[in-house]
Amino acid sequence: MVLSIENLCKTWPGGKRALDQVSLSISPGLYGLLGPNGAGKSTLMRTIATLQDPDSGSVHFDGIDVIRQKSCIRSLLGYLPQEFGVYPRTSAFALLDHIAMLKGCTDSRARRESVNAMLCHVNLYQFRSHAVETFSGGMKRRFGIAQALLGNPRLLIIDEPTAGLDPGERNRFCDLLYSTAQQAVVILSTHIIQDVQQLCPCMAIIHEGRVLYSGSTSAAIDSLQGKIWKKLVPMDALPNYQSRFQVISTRLMSGSTQICIFADAQPDTGFESCDPDLESFFFSRIPQTA
């Protein structure tokens, strides 16, 4: 049960290359997608979720050609789009029930039980008779998570699931996801790098449609061991440093700026080595334009 993506290309009308020769191989478990805004994460996920055809390339899951055999893949799929709306005047229960019915559960009793259980899992049970359109941002996100998880999908694609969740709900969600990930391929995109670091054993970084890194998360962090250096510098000296080193992050600290740079050896006095994390890996890979 492997999702293999080969040489996926997509160019939008207007010439924007959203995907450029993307190849990934994803095995069961959580898989994180990182990338700046407009990198092409959502485009990739929509392609896997049968919503749009690539210009070239192929996607296979478990021997199923995702692009040609859409109906086969859909029965294994759970998808949470980055943004979505809902039918007006429809309660959370009714909508989730409707979606469960469309997922193929036609036995109304069994369906009701699963739907209620699902609503409990995402902590929306007490709002089940409220219209979804009146939900707050985070509640709607949770509703989206619920519908994606419904029906034990074997391929779960979730686009920025944690955006807008409060810390408590985020933890709940992480637990929920972790328990699901055992038997399924789960791809999630996010801007919260800690999530990936915590949850995903494997990940990919995408930038301007190209895969800059794909592989194990821990290996990525390890590869930076001893290559990240930090220093407190005055604010006005920043441009100077930026021109001389590969600055991967700057942080304001009580009037002066702490900068982190990427270098194979200690670049200068005053720089001290620090422990790499996924964020430094991310910024070391993404060309900074400041």
Binding site: L51, V86, P88, T106, R111, A117, Y125, G151
Partner: protein, 1192 residues
């Protein structure tokens, strides 16, 4: 601030494609209507010129009223854009000022909304100068008409909906809801003004109609011929006040709406997120248990569930609620006051009620389908939930089928609501014969199927275009274009189009029986085609984000695999096979390549010179043996006609015409067939030796008809299982001018000369007077008919019933008609009940359907009164029997007919008139009297075949019926008839595309003259010289022509008799009435009351009088006159009458120009009137009547 918002908005719209496509569409449509035959807007009064000033204005009027939703959509978009694109939170927190924002948006978007209107003039101007145009159809451009049309008619019409829409959408920021609300408002006011008009508040309606169409109509109604080409609407009178009123209302609405608006974004969020503890719910796995049910059952359940879900959300949505409300509102009035002309009501028989419901529901349900389809197909996208729904593993067909079903159910619910209203209206009017099967079959069967087919088509269009606006446009275009193309296809190729449901006429006589088979075959056909379309829809159903057509086609090809491919093959295969079978096995009456036109032309070229006006033998005696098989819809007729040579020369060649439809085989004694042309249904025989003067031969003919096993549209709607009637079924002799090609364009294409008008009125033209108006091959004939039919039927033919017997389980009837009368064969067979009576030694009978007994006494009354009146005033009645026979409602416009002594009366006519209320017009009575009068004025005095013939029959029958009516019910009843006649005459002459003639020269096609002007003229004459003198004149006419052969009577003979009875001083009026086209324009300009001593009132009227003579083209010129005209003063109205008690009625001598009349009454009158009962034909009768004002 205003300027910034204004310019931004203006530039926004100038970049939008919608604006240009609308402008192009309007220009294009108008261009096509001018320069091509594809689209034709019917000009006023059926005029042939395409760009008259009035046409331009009416187009402005019509399109600006019809396009109100389009104008509204710009301001709606302007008002709701921030909300729709979720910009409001950003915009409203900037420093924009309220009025700057509102007015800027409103002004800019309204200006933009007006731009497409300019396309009307553009299209007309461009279209009318195209080089290929026929110059006879165009007149020079009239700039003031264009300007007035745009500025005075169209712009205010567009401003009102724009303002309302803008203001509403500030409150309800949802474009669709606002549009629906607006449409409802529009139809509501439309209906409201209609009601005002029905209740005679025409002028109030003219003020209140927001689109000014009634005011425009006021200015243009009854215009004829020449005036239609030059006149145009100007900004005066009611139109001016209407415009002022509605512009102020628009301004007011805008002001109020803007004042109440606050710049705050709308939010609808759950107020507080409470953290209540989660109930102890069983936290089982949320895996969906896929039950072990077979896949197809699962699919069926999914479909069922989805349909339920969609149906629920459809019927709780605003669209359904508003449209259902509208349906109820449009139905309430016609159902509670079901009227049919004359302001009288009909009984709510189920078939009529169902017809009203179907008709009234058709438009709103259509709107519902078109709008709802647009919403349903794009629903996911609109709610932005499509990314979730599309990835769910449901089959592709599920959504289109489920939604179609849900929509059909919603429509069925609307129709059911209508049906419930119908039942309710029947019950509260005390009518209990409900006939639920008629409701079910007509509404939930036939009507629902028709709407379902439309729904499928609209869905297909929406799905294929993947853009809602495109879909709407296509549906709209389809409304205009498809009837044209489809009818072309259907007539030229004989293809059975799924939009052309065969017509169905229910009757209490035969139910749905004759139509059932064809309708079933058609329904299966259309359902199969719908299945094909559903297949197409499911292949194209949008499930991804990519809307490009190539991607969707590629995806469709991928979907067409495996089981889908098998299903597709089965569906398409079945449809093809069924289609082939249907088009071969079912009789579908279409005419390949203009066959009838060619035949008519061929008939004329071959036979006109050879036979027209050549002497030929005359039919003197008819014998029929008719076997009717109503159940099988078959007929066998053996006829024997005796032909006698009544000319001076021997006759050798005769032309025999065979009636259409039936199979004939003719055998002429002593003659052989010279020429047989089945396509022309004509044969030529040579008699050898030639028939000598005075000698007779006999012509035998067997004719038969067997209805085909399956027929889509019935070829013979009159051949039915119960109530079968047949007329004019035997061969005729000699050249028939009726068969000539009537369409002038087709004639010139085929090199035929122009159609000759019917022979002009000329009493000296004895050749023409040899023939009477109904047949050219006989004078007066004797007739014998033996009919056999099913044993429980009664068969009726003109004549005395000699004998009736039963033989081999069939019932036989033997009728004989003497004395000789004009030839008018007819047979009828139905299960009927009879009411029988005696009157002056004549057996009177009313044969009626057992369920329709309500008005039988009234009809019997009419029969007796008319017989008595005729016998007393005109002369003896020629038969020993007089019978009214009810026949089914095959054609709703035929109310009744007259055959010798036998008068078929339609089921939809007087049999269902409601005469229970005290103010009801006695229509049943009146029409019976009219038909009885024809026994004198058609079957005794027979009009010669030339202009004016119908005055001898119809006008005199109307006169007789009016006199009988007056005698039995008083003059108020007659006046109600006259009021209708007055309107019908003026409206009829405005629609006459050929020349109007004076009454004495009425053409056969001018029924507005012989019936309606005839009624007015005869009543005027009777006021002038009195009933007794008219009847004396008629008696003399009868003595001269009654029951005699050629030469037949002409209208001149009648007028001469009238002249002999009229004092010489009135001869000029007589001439005006019969030989000229005279219109009056009388008007009270001032009316004062002065108190006199002893409680008397002195009333002073200032009256302006004009008398106009119109020529046949409609050019009017004023002629001076001096004539006695009635002046009346009346008390207040206390019931349904037009006036209260008469306080004063006197003739006054009035002349052209201003007159002053002074008279006294004892009470203060409520109304005063010049010519109160409209004896004179006056185009504007509203200003004849005023309420006088008391002098200070």
């Amino acid at each position: 601030m205003f300027r910034a918002v204004f310019w931004f908005e203006l530039c926004f719209w100038l970049r939008s494609r919608l604006l240009y496509s609308l402008l192009l569409t309007t220009t294009g449509i108008l261009f096509l209507s001018m320069a091509t035959q594809l689209i034709r807007f019917r000009g006023p009064g059926g005029i042939q010129i395409r760009n008259t000033a009035l046409t331009v204005q009416l187009l402005y009027q019509y399109l600006s009223a019809a396009g109100f939703l389009i104008f509204a959509s710009f301001p709606i978009a302007a008002a709701t854009r921030d909300h729709t694109y979720q910009m409001s939170e950003i915009i409203f927190t900037t420093s924009v000022s309220r009025f700057g924002w509102l007015l800027g948006r409103f002004t800019a978007s309204t200006i933009i909304a007006l731009i497409p209107l300019c396309g009307i003039s553009a299209g007309i101007l461009i279209g009318s100068v195209m080089p290929w145009n026929d110059p006879a159809q165009f007149v020079p451009i009239c700039w003031p008409a264009h300007l007035l049309g745009l500025a005075a008619i169209a712009v205010p019409n567009a401003l009102l909906p724009a303002t309302i829409a803008f203001v509403i959408s500030l409150r309800i920021p949802n474009a669709v809801s606002v549009q629906i609300l607006l449409a409802t408002l529009w139809f509501g006011t439309d209906l409201g003004t209609d009601l005002l008009r029905i209740y005679d508040h025409e002028l109030l309606a003219a003020m209140l109609d927001p689109f000014g169409s009634i005011a425009v109509f006021q200015q243009t109604k009854y215009l004829t011929g020449a005036k239609l080409q030059t006149e145009y609407v100007t900004l005066v009178g009611y139109l001016l006040w209407n415009r002022v009123l509605w512009l102020s209302i628009s301004a007011l609405i805008l002001a109020v709406g803007c004042r109440r608006f606050q710049l705050t974004p709308r939010r609808n969020r759950l107020a507080v997120e409470t953290h209540r503890p989660v109930p102890g719910h069983d936290l089982r796995s949320f895996a969906l248990t896929h039950s072990a049910t077979p896949a197809f059952l699962n699919r069926a359940r999914q479909l069922l569930n989805l349909t339920r879900f969609e149906f629920r959300s459809a019927v709780s949505g605003p669209l359904f609620i508003i449209i259902s409300g509208f349906v109820l509102w449009t139905l309430a009035f016609p159902l509670l006051r079901y009227e049919t002309g004359y302001g009288q009501q009909s009984l709510p028989v189920t078939s009529a009620v169902v017809e009203v419901i179907a008709e009234r529901c058709r438009f709103p349900t259509l709107i519902f389908i078109v709008v709802a389809a647009g919403m349903l197909v794009h629903r996911e996208r609109d709610c932005r939930i499509h990314e979730i729904i599309s990835t769910l593993p449901h089959p592709d067909w599920l959504f289109c089928c489920g939604r179609l079903l849900a929509m059909t159910l919603a429509v069925a619910m609307m129709l059911t609501t209508g049906a419930v209203m119908g039942v309710f209206s029947q019950l509260i009017r005390g009518f209990t014969n409900l006939q639920p099967e008629v409701y079910v079959v007509s509404l939930l069967g036939v009507e629902l199927l028709r709407l379902f087919v439309v729904a499928v088509l609209v869905f297909t269009v929406q799905i294929c275009t993947s853009s809602r606006v495109c879909g709407y446009m296509l549906c709209l275009g389809n409304e205009i274009i498809s009837p044209y193309f489809i009818s072309q296809l259907a007539t030229n190729r004989g293809l059975i189009s799924i939009l052309h449901q065969p017509s169905l006429i229910y009757s209490d006589f035969y139910g749905f029986a004759p139509y059932a088979g064809g309708l079933l075959a058609f329904s299966i056909w259309s359902l199969l085609l719908c299945a094909v379309l559903c297949l197409l829809m499911s292949l194209l159903w949008q499930r991804g984000n990519d809307t490009a057509i190539m991607t969707r086609l590629r995806e469709a090809r991928r979907r067409l695999r495996g089981r889908t491919a098998v299903a597709a093959a089965v569906i398409c295969g079945t449809t093809t096979l069924y289609g082939v079978w249907l088009h071969t096995a079912v009789t579908n009456h279409w005419d390949p390549n203009n066959a009838p036109t060619d035949a008519a032309a061929d008939y004329e070229t071959r036979f006109r010179t050879r036979f027209e006006n050549k002497p030929h033998p005359r039919i003197t005696d008819l014998r029929y043996e008719v076997d009717l098989f109503p159940k099988e819809r078959s007929v066998r007729i053996r006829s024997t006609q005796t032909l006698q040579n009544r000319n001076a020369a021997p006759q050798a060649e005769i032309l025999v015409n065979l009636p259409s439809g039936l199979q004939h085989s003719v055998r002429l004694e002593q003659a052989h067939l010279l020429l047989d042309l089945p396509a022309l249904r004509a044969q030529v025989y040579r008699i050898e030796p030639p028939l000598l003067p005075g000698d007779s031969i006999r012509m035998h003919c067997t004719s038969s008809y067997d209805a085909p096993a399956l027929e889509l549209d019935l070829e013979f709607r009159n051949l039915v299982q119960n109530g079968l009637t047949l007329t004019h079924f035997s061969p005729t002799i000699g050249y028939e001018a009726d068969r000539e090609l009537q369409d002038e364009q087709e004639r010139s294409k085929r090199g035929l000369p122009q159609l000759r008008p019917s022979p002009p009125l000329d009493p000296d033209n004895l050749t023409a007077r040899r023939n009477h108006k109904d047949s050219t091959d006989s004078d007066l004939v004797t007739m014998e008919t033996i009919i056999s039919t099913e044993s429980d039927h009664v068969a009726i033919a003109p004549g005395t019933l000699l004998r009736s017997w039963n033989q081999q389980n069939r019932q036989y009837f033997h009728y004989r008609l003497d004395p000789p009368t004009p030839k008018a064969p007819m047979v009828l067979s139905a299960r009927l009940r009879v009411a029988r009576d005696q009157c002056n030694g004549i057996t009177t009978e009313v044969w009626y359907h057992p369920d329709h007994k309500w008005n039988v006494p009234s009809m019997m009354h009419g029969l007796h009164s008319a017989l008595n009146y005729g016998i007393q005033n005109f002369g003896p009645y020629q038969f020993s029997f007089a019978r009214i026979v009810e026949f089914p409602r095959y054609e709703n416009h035929i109310a009744a007919m007259a055959f010798p002594g036998t008068m078929p009366y339609s089921e939809a006519g007087g049999f269902i008139t409601d005469i229970r209320s005290p103010g009801a017009f006695e229509k049943a009575f009146f029409i019976v009297a009219h038909e009885v009068a024809h026994q004198w004025w058609a079957y005794q005095v027979i009009g010669a075949n030339m202009e004016g013939a119908k005055m001898l029959s119809e006008t005199l029958a109307e006169y007789t019926a009016m006199m009988v009516l007056e005698r039995e019910f008083g003059s108020e009843m007659v006046r109600r008839h006259l009021r209708v006649a007055h309107h019908n005459y003026l409206a009829g002459r405005a629609l006459d595309t050929r020349n109007e003639h004076p009454l004495s020269r009425v053409r056969p096609d001018q029924s507005y003259l012989c019936y309606y002007k005839g009624s007015l003229v005869m009543y005027h004459l009777r006021q002038l010289i009195g009933e007794e003198k008219i009847n004396a004149a008629l008696r003399r006419l009868l003595k001269k022509f009654g029951g005699k052969g050629p030469p037949y009577a002409t209208s001149t003979d009648l007028i001469n008799e009238f002249k002999a009875e009229t004092p010489a001083e009135h001869h000029a009026i007589l001439d005006d009435l019969f030989n000229r086209i005279i219109l009056f324009s009388n008007k009270i300009t001032r009316s004062d009351i002065r108190q006199l001593p002893a409680g008397r009132q002195q009333i002073t009227l200032e009256i302006e009088c004009r008398k106009l003579e119109s020529d046949e083209k409609g050019v009017e010129r004023e002629v001076p006159f001096e004539q006695d005209i009635e002046i009346g003063a009346f008390a207040a109205v206390d019931d349904h009458r037009k006036y209260g008690a008469a306080l004063y009625r006197q003739m006054h001598r009035l002349r052209s120009g201003r007159n002053t009349v002074v008279f006294e009454t004892t009470e203060i009158p409520d109304t005063v009137a010049v010519d109160p009962f409209f004896m004179l034909i006056d185009r504007n009768i509203d200003d004849n009547v005023v309420s006088p004002t008391a002098e200070p």
